[in-house]
């Protein structure tokens, strides 16, 4: 009796879970009394079934030598493919069109803004030394001197706006001060740190983009923006004066992952940060750089933005570093994705986004569904003819199975495509196998003269070993396909595993329960099998 109690509980949970995840498919719209949080998402459909959006990307090849252009585009394609893969978009389509255009199609329409941002990142990670105060002073003086002579060349909107006076008057009034430190006005300093005010940021950007201005930065040095501190109410952006030369680059990274800090400092407690680990060569360089630059700052620069510039306190062995900051967990995850997927060999410009219809016509979808329904009906018909009343038992198990496969695909957030539907139909054909194994064993036992009760029990227990052995090997296949495959192969592996697991459950547990009730309740002397 105890066994049947466990079984009843298991079957009830199984049915409830299935109904829960299938609710959006069965009911359609979310009823008002159910909270948004617990309502499961609808089963996602792939590009072929429902369309999605298309993003055009252009690889900017202006700075890439003629000979390397081909390979640059190819590796850009590879990096973008990896990023979207890590991002977890199932069944995307990523294709190179013409010379340097990459067309990405993503199913559905949600979250694509985030995907776009992710795709656009160059992900060039560099470690650069921050200039000493003396060096910084030299740079600032040089730029002040240049701007004093050439301020007319630049349309410094804000410097004008802030004084609310035409430039000539401004110059007149400044002349009396005998020195005009325009650059120092733009980049303010505070306790050894530099920043630019929100309203001046555009002006500084314009200046830095100007090649004549940039030529006045002493060679070997550069000016970089830091990351905006979103909690800073003034909206200032930190400015860093750096060595041009990167001490260490992203190619030496062996690992990057998101961690949550356990820092007792309230500002950093439970904040996500990114942990970096270098390979052996990178660790050696890191040790040398930190060892010979104690008390200086080392900036971690990603895509020309300084994320953090910690002070080097000591020589660091072991090759580990952290990128901290006021990140959200989502930002951290996205950063790790771009770090893992590698950097783009050339900048990528995002072109237009269009929404696209399904790549298969309504006719193909209809015929796919038709085939599915017919396939299932034929299988059911066949087993009922062959196994009679026991065949009905198998048919019940099969229907539960179908429901469970769709429920599990919803739960795993899988994307259903037409080949996916075909795979499910096939799994259904194969799922009957477990029932067949059991029924054939029961028949053999009956032929050997056993009672119905014994035949059923022996049949189930002997077939269970076979079912486990044969299905575990198939599960191994599925697990390896999942582990080593990407995109489409993974989706297929998920469908396959779900089909196998649910067919094992329905045949071994559900069918057995049906038999038990049927036989014990009615005390039959004949089994229709």
């Amino acid at each position: 009796m105890k066994k049947s109690k466990y079984r009843a509980t298991a079957i009830t949970i199984f049915l409830l879970l299935t109904l829960y995840f299938l609710a959006p498919l069965l009911i359609g719209e979310k009823p008002a009394f159910i909270s948004e949080k617990i309502w499961p998402g609808k089963l996602k459909l792939g590009l072929d079934l429902q369309g999605g959006s298309q993003i055009d990307l252009y690889v900017d090849l202006t700075d890439v030598p003629q000979k390397e252009q081909d390979s640059a585009v190819k590796s850009a394609l590879e990096v973008i493919r990896n990023r979207i893969d890590y991002f977890g978009v199932a069944e995307p389509s990523i294709q190179l069109v013409g010379e340097n255009k990459i067309v990405i199609q993503l199913p559905g329409l949600d979250d694509h803004e985030r995907a776009k941002e992710l795709i656009g990142k160059t992900a060039l990670l560099e470690f650069k030394l921050v200039l000493t105060p003396e060096e910084t002073k030299t740079v600032i003086n040089r730029l002040d001197a240049y701007l004093e002579k050439n301020i007319d060349l630049y349309n410094m909107t804000h410097l004008k706006d802030s004084s609310n006076t035409p430039l000539e008057i401004l110059e007149d009034s400044l002349e009396s001060n005998d020195k005009n430190n325009y650059f120092s006005m733009l980049v303010k300093s505070d306790m050894g740190r530099y920043y630019v005010a929100k309203e001046d940021k555009e002006d500084l950007k314009t200046l830095l983009a100007d090649s004549v201005f940039a030529a006045n930065i002493p060679s070997g040095y550069q000016i970089a923006f830091g990351r905006e501190d979103k909690q800073d109410s003034f909206g200032d952006t930190p400015i860093y004066f750096l060595n041009n030369k990167a001490e260490l680059e992203g190619k030496y990274l062996s690992e990057s992952s998101v961690r949550i800090s356990g820092d007792s400092d309230f500002r950093n407690a439970n904040k996500p940060y990114i942990s970096l680990k270098f390979n052996r060569e990178g660790s050696r360089i890191f040790e040398r750089v930190t060892g010979s630059n104690i008390n200086r700052s080392l900036a971690i620069v990603l895509d020309n933005t300084v994320y953090v510039a910690p002070n080097i306190q000591d020589r660091i062995r072991g090759g580990e570093a952290q990128i901290t900051g006021q990140f959200t967990l989502e930002e951290c995850n996205d950063l790790v994705i771009v770090l893992k997927a590698g950097n783009l060999p050339a900048p990528v410009n995002i072109g237009k986004t269009s929404s696209i219809g399904p790549s298969l016509g309504a006719d193909s979808i209809r015929s796919g569904l038709m085939a599915g329904i017919f396939g299932v009906l034929l299988v059911v018909l066949f087993i009922i003819i062959y196994y009679k009343a026991s065949g009905v038992n198998a048919a019940i198990a099969l229907s539960l199975n179908i429901g469970f496969i769709f429920a599990a695909l919803t739960a795993f957030n899988a994307t259903l495509t037409l080949p996916g539907i075909a795979g499910i139909i096939l799994t259904i054909g194969m799922a009957v196998d477990a029932n067949v194994l059991i029924f054939e064993r029961i028949r053999e036992e009956l032929r050997a003269g056993k009672t119905i009760r014994n035949a059923i029990d022996n049949g189930f227990s002997r077939a269970t070993v076979t079912i486990l052995d044969s299905n575990i090997t198939t599960l191994i296949t599925a697990a390896i396909l999942y582990q080593f495959g990407t995109g489409a192969i993974r989706g297929f592996a998920v469908t396959l595993s779900v089909g196998i697991l649910s067919s094992m459950f329905t045949s071994i547990v559900v069918s057995n329960a049906i038999f038990d009730n049927f036989v014990t309740n009615k005390n039959r002397d004949k089994l229709s099998i």
């Binding site: 038709m370 599925a478 192969i489």
Partner: protein, 301 residues
Amino acid sequence: MQLFKDTNFDFMGVRKICYFISIALILIGFISIAAHKGIKYNIDFTGGLMLQVELEGVKVEQLRTVLSDIGFKDAEIQQITNEDKEIFILKTVSTENAGDHIKEALRTTFPEATKGRFVIQEEEVGPKAGFELRNQAIKAVLIAIIFILIYIWIRFKFSWGISAAVALLHDTLLTIGMLSILNIEIGMTVLAALLTIVGYSINDTIVIFDRIRDDIKIYRKEDEYRIFNRSINSTLSRTAITSITTLVADLALLIWGGPVIRDFALTLLIGIIIGTYSSVFIASSLVLDTVVAYKNKSKKK
């Protein structure tokens, strides 16, 4: 109702013939691949031609008919839906003059819509999947075979694992050869079908292995030859019924599934037949031969 009742086929007696047939078929497949100048991949792997056209008042279904009438059955047709105009993206394999051919057909079928400049863009398009995906699939299958070998080694014996692995390789190679003979190009869906075959075939083989293991314990005094035959005969009903139900589902896909699923269903049809054949005629035979060879060797000593 019962398909095979108390059959007593001598499966082991025909094993040499089966080895010969299998090797011959694999060779024929390889010759076909060589004659086709390698394995043929479809647009998913090779890339092709992309045409972007604006056709007022035309529907996707109409376009599909036109393209399939002039031989582009696998063409992918998508409509851009956020514009007021009817703009379509057509992707197809780029055979010689494919672009001109399609444009010509569009002009004759839709003379109204093609009056002006209806081709917005015509460009070569790269592969969707790229060969890394194919290589990954090959690598995954090989690793899977190794793990299956280890599992069978643990649950049964090492030589059984080797036999199952050889049978799996046999199925995959034979199916790929058959695809070449039937002129089916390998794309993403066919790749998925090939992976399914690996899973299906191993399942079938294990069921028979399992029975042999049982029977060896029950009929200790009989020689392996008879035990193997008995086991295969007693599981024959199950083998047949499972193959039939899977084939029924697959035939439904083949008949009603439409052109897009046809290659997938056809590959599976071939694979299911080959997988069933190898489970019955090849995998256990290989085990028997290794067992007998091992016995002879120890006798000589």
